[in-house]
Each structure stands twice: as C-alpha cells, then as structure tokens.
C-alpha cells in the first residue's frame, strides 16, 4: 500500500444515517460509541449528515454527542443512492481527514461503506460488535513496531463460531461498519449545540448514478424488537402459530414484545421482522425469555448480550441452557399460562 501521512487524520467521525429526514437509531448508537472513543483519544466527535433539506437535524445529533456536524445538503441526496452518497462521504473524508469513520451496518451502510473504503483506499471491518482503543500488535513483538491508540475492531465470523479482532494500522481513516443494537446511546444532553459546517463537493450525474423508478414502503405495525426492554421469544418447541398466543399473553402481562427464532420464521408462524439471531436481528433487552428455543449458535449470537436470560425448554441438553442465567427444564405449555396469571395478579395487587 502507498504510504499515507497518518498524522493528518484526526477525530472520530460518524455517518449519521437519515431516512425520510428522520435520523436512524443507529446514528445515535454510533455517536454514543464515538463519544467514548474520542474521550480516550482526547479528540472530537463529528457527525456527517448527508441528505436533502436535513439541516434541521443537527441539534438532535448534538444532543446525542456530536461536537461538530458536517452537513452535505443537496437535492441529489434526497433518497439514498450509492453514488451520490459515496461521493459525499468520500469527499468529506478527503477534505476533513478523520482518524476513525464509523458507519452503521444497515442495508444502507453495508452498501455505502465498501464503496467509500475502496474510493478513499482504506480498510473496512464489517459488522463490528466491539470497538476499543488499544495497541497493534496487541502484544509487542521484538523487532516490530507496536502502534498505540489504534482502533481495534471485533466482529463475529464463520456464522458466529469465531470472533476476530481487526486493526487498520497503516491506512486512514480506520473504518468500520457497526451492528445495530450493540452500542449504547448516551443520555441526550438537552439543548446541546454542535458546530455546524456546510460542505458541498458538487454533484454531477454520470453513468454511476442509478435511477429510482419506484419506492415501495413495507407498512408494518410490528414493534421493533431491537427497541424492546422485555422480549418473550419462542422457538420450534412452541409447536404452532396458534400456540404463540401463550407467549403473546405473557408479553402483554409484562409489557414486552414477542420475538422468535429462525425455525419459527421458516415455518411461517411469525414474520421475519421478529427473528432474533445471526440472520435476524441482534437484541439486548433487559429480560429475554427463550421459550422452546434450543439455542443454536446462530440464535444465541443475536441475544446473548441480554441482561437477563430466562430459558424454558423440555430438553435438558438444549444448548440454550449454556447461555441462560435461569434455565428451567419443563413444559412450556404448563408453565407459561400459569406464569402469565401470576404476573397479572401481582401487577394488579400493586
């Protein structure tokens, strides 16, 4: 690789994804992590806001931790399209030279990130779940320079069976896409203001601009399971779509939400939006009930960060018991309805 002058690159930048002029939750999560990383590096947090008519969103980004917001506002950026967005973000990177650039691992970020990393010639680590500042190599190797204050990016690979920690020691920015639902937002600082910088690199449509013929929004009234504090999750062991009623009643009594494993989606019992796991969503609620879920690694990869995991399964060898804080070997059909009643009685008494 050609040598870059790494010293020129400063600050922790976040791609502040917005859709329909509404900031996506992932942007706030990234700002939370960026605040922590910038604190360790003694640097500032910059949000890069790209869209059309989006200047009004800057204060919100400030409240969640942005010291500065770089706004690229242009009618070409109204809807997400790879090329104008890649042009906007890579121009910002070339102009403002961030040390770290974080992008959400969303359907937008996983398209934008690789395109930008190829353009600015830096590495990109996908779907990170842990970001830390540390040394590379982690342990000093005689005769080899150990670099300090590097971004160490940890991600699952091989379907969640292994984890790898990646560094990007010789190129800048150090760039990562980050899984949604993993990083913590900060408590918003009401009334906080950020320095706002407007920047427009100019947009000239060429062969790389695609045309949007239609936008079809999938209307769904399903609660986002990634926002739920309590999840009542069912697996194949629930037995049928109808039997999910037991879990829905429990969720109602607790003020929680129903989610499920992949087998349930494959059987057509519940929609894909409710699926937890490697090919579904990563969740970290306060309480996760795993009911009739065997707990394959592809499932546990998406829920093991939950604060409390309660598992009910009739098979005492089910791997879910290896990650559960409280595991009950028993019949869900008998336990769940009684539990629902007890909780209802308890909350009524209060």
């Amino acid at each position: 690789m050609t040598e870059m002058n790494l010293e020129e690159y400063k600050g922790v930048f976040v791609f502040a994804q917005q859709v329909d002029n509404e900031i996506s939750s992932i942007a706030f999560e990234l700002l939370g992590k960026a605040t922590e990383l910038a604190g360790k590096l003694n640097e500032k947090v910059t949000a890069v806001l790209i869209g059309s008519d989006v200047k009004g969103l800057c204060d919100q980004l400030a409240e969640y931790g942005a010291d500065r917001v770089i706004v690229v506002d242009d009618p070409e950026l109204k809807e997400y399209r790879t090329e104008p967005y890649a042009h906007a973000l890579s121009s910002v990177i070339n102009e403002y030279k961030p040390e770290i650039m974080l992008v959400g691992a969303t359907a937008i970020g996983r398209d934008l990130g690789p395109r930008v990393s190829a353009r600015v010639k830096t590495g990109l680590t996908a779907d990170c779940t842990v970001l830390e500042i540390g040394d590379f190599p982690i342990n000093a190797i005689p005769g080899k320079e150990q670099k300090h204050n590097q971004l160490l990016m940890t991600r699952p690979a091989f379907g969640g069976n292994t984890i790898a920690t990646i560094a990007c020691p010789d190129n800048r920015p150090q760039m990562a896409t980050v899984r949604a639902g993993v990083m913590q937002k900060i408590e918003p600082k009401k009334g906080a203001k950020a320095e706002v910088v407007e920047y427009n690199p100019g947009f000239t449509p060429d062969n790389k601009y695609v045309e949007i013929l239609d936008i079809v929004k999938e209307v769904t009234d399903v609660v986002d399971i990634m926002d739920a504090k309590i999840l009542v999750s069912g697996g194949r062991g629930v037995g049928s779509a109808e039997n999910f009623k037991l879990l829905e009643d429990l969720a109602d009594a607790l003020g929680g939400t129903v989610s499920c494993s992949r087998a349930v989606v494959d059987n057509g019992w519940k929609p894909k939006e409710l699926q937890v796991g490697q090919t579904g969503k990563t969740v970290r609620p306060n309480v996760y009930f795993a009911i009739g879920i065997s707990g394959a690694i592809q499932h546990t990869a998406g829920m093991e960060e939950s604060d409390i995991i309660i598992a009910i399964n009739k098979d005492e060898t089910a791997p879910i018991f290896d990650v559960a804080d409280y595991g009950i070997v028993g019949d869900l059909n008998k336990i769940v309805p009684k539990l629902t009643e007890q909780i209802k009685a308890q909350t009524k008494a209060k």
């Binding site: 359907a107 982690i138 695609v210």
Partner: protein, 260 residues
C-alpha cells in the same frame, strides 16, 4: 450479452462446524460449498441467459481446488470458468480481494457482473461493491429481482423497511440475495460437459492495472490482531421443576431483578 458471475468456495457452516483440539476451525474436516448468495446470483444469470440469451462466465479467486466450484457452476449451465490463483494473492482482505478480481475483470468484456451479497465465512458484503468501485461502474446491492430492459437492468433493491426499484445502465454490478431464487441443480449432461471444458487459470501476471503493493496479505489495509473461538457467557442456574414450582422460581427472579 455477456454476464460474469463472481463465486466463492466456502466452508459449509450450516452443516455443523468442526473444531481442532486447540479450538481453531478445522477447515479440512468441513465440506465446501458454493456460497449460497453467489449461487443465487448464478441462477439469476442463467435465467437471463434462458430468457434473453447470454454468455455466462463464472470467475473465482482462491486455491487451485476452487476449480471444483467452477465445474459445479458450469454443470449448472455457465459457459466459461476463470480461476484466479497465485501464492502472492493469499491472505487478502476485502480491499485486496476486490482489487485482484477487478484486475482480472479488466481482461474481459462484460455487460453485467453479478456477485453474491456476502459469503457465509466472512459475512462482510464488501467485495461486490468494492469491485464496482475499482471498475468505475454502478452497483446495485441486495437485489431481490433482476430484469433486463434494453441496455439497462431493473432491480428490486431491498432495505429494512422498503424496497427501491432501480434502473442502471450497463455495464453495472449487482449483488444478489439468496432469497432471489431457488438455484437449479446440475444436470448429468451438464456435469459431463463441465468436465470436458477448459478452465482458464490466471495468476498475478494476468491481472491488469494492479500494483503489487495492493495484493495479498501485504496489500491488505486490515490486519488480524487476534482471532479466537467465541467466548461464551457461562451457564447460569438450571433447575428441573414442575409447573407451579417453575412459576414461583421465575416470579422470585423477576421480583429480585426488579422486572415486576
């Protein structure tokens, strides 16, 4: 019309993952398959060939044994196979891999390049969009549906809460989701034909407009600091109880943790 499909031979993580005694992944003991998203991309190309007529070339980068995955693709109906293999290409991250594949693609004519969205071993979804960037052509990722209209492709592009119907002028690159279709099987005739056909093998010297310093492990901006087996949270309590006992056990925990 000329279509190139980029495919990858991957360990089959679905069929059970095997570990060595030291806890590292035993790749030798795991079966290899054509990456599912790539197979869907190949099927999409073959359907375009069936409907409009097209020459379909499959290209892979890997060890010499990755020839198997090209033969499989040709047995399904691909016309040509190209294997990019060279010692100096080993250890490449997505940046160096996409640089390599772009260098190979510069040797051939194409209207449409199809890659899978992501491979099941790395799950990065980066190589397709990065190839398109190196080649200076448009990319449409996460394709649920691909149609041809004159000199353009029309693609349903999936997002979390919507899809866009996008039109791009060819040449362009599309990354395919495994949900796109159900890939066809190899045919007996196809298998015989596939083993009669020559596979083009390219090495470093066949890559066009690529610097040595951008290839392989040395040309990879990202470096592995540490790789390990997933550290799993230890098991908590496990109790076998009848329904009433189980309910009071759970109630105690919920109250103790201030959930209710």
């Amino acid at each position: 019309m000329k279509i190139v499909v980029c495919i990858k031979q991957v360990p089959d993580t679905k069929g059970g993952v095997k570990f060595n005694p030291d806890g590292t992944l035993d790749r030798g003991a795991m079966l290899t398959i054509m990456n599912p998203d790539d197979k869907a991309g190949l099927e999409a190309a073959l359907r375009i060939k069936d409907e409009y007529g097209a020459e379909v070339t499959v290209l892979t980068m890997g060890l010499p044994k990755a020839e198997d995955v090209l033969r499989e693709a040709m047995a399904m109906g691909a016309d040509n196979g190209i294997l990019v293999t060279d010692r100096v290409l080993g250890g490449a991250d997505t940046w160096a891999t996409s640089t390599t594949i772009a260098g190979a693609l510069r040797n051939i004519d194409y209207d449409l390049i199809i890659t899978g969205r992501q491979a099941i071993d790395g799950d990065t979804a980066q190589v397709g969009p990065q190839i398109s960037e190196h080649l200076g052509i448009p990319v449409i990722s996460y394709a649920q549906d691909i149609k041809i209209e004159g000199d353009s492709v029309i693609v349903n592009r999936q997002f979390e809460d919507r899809h866009h119907v996008l039109k791009a002028k060819m040449p362009c690159l599309v990354t395919a989701l495994s949900e796109l279709n159900v890939p066809r099987y190899m045919t007996p005739g196809g298998i015989f034909d596939a083993f009669d056909k020559d596979i083009t093998v390219w090495g470093r010297k066949d890559l066009k407009d690529v610097d040595d310093s951008d290839l392989g492990l040395a040309g990879s901006p990202t470096k592995i600091a540490k790789a390990s087996d997933k550290v799993r949270k230890g098991a908590g309590e496990k109790v076998t109880l009848d329904a009433d006992e189980a309910v009071s056990y759970i109630m105690d925990k919920l109250v103790e943790k201030h959930v209710i």
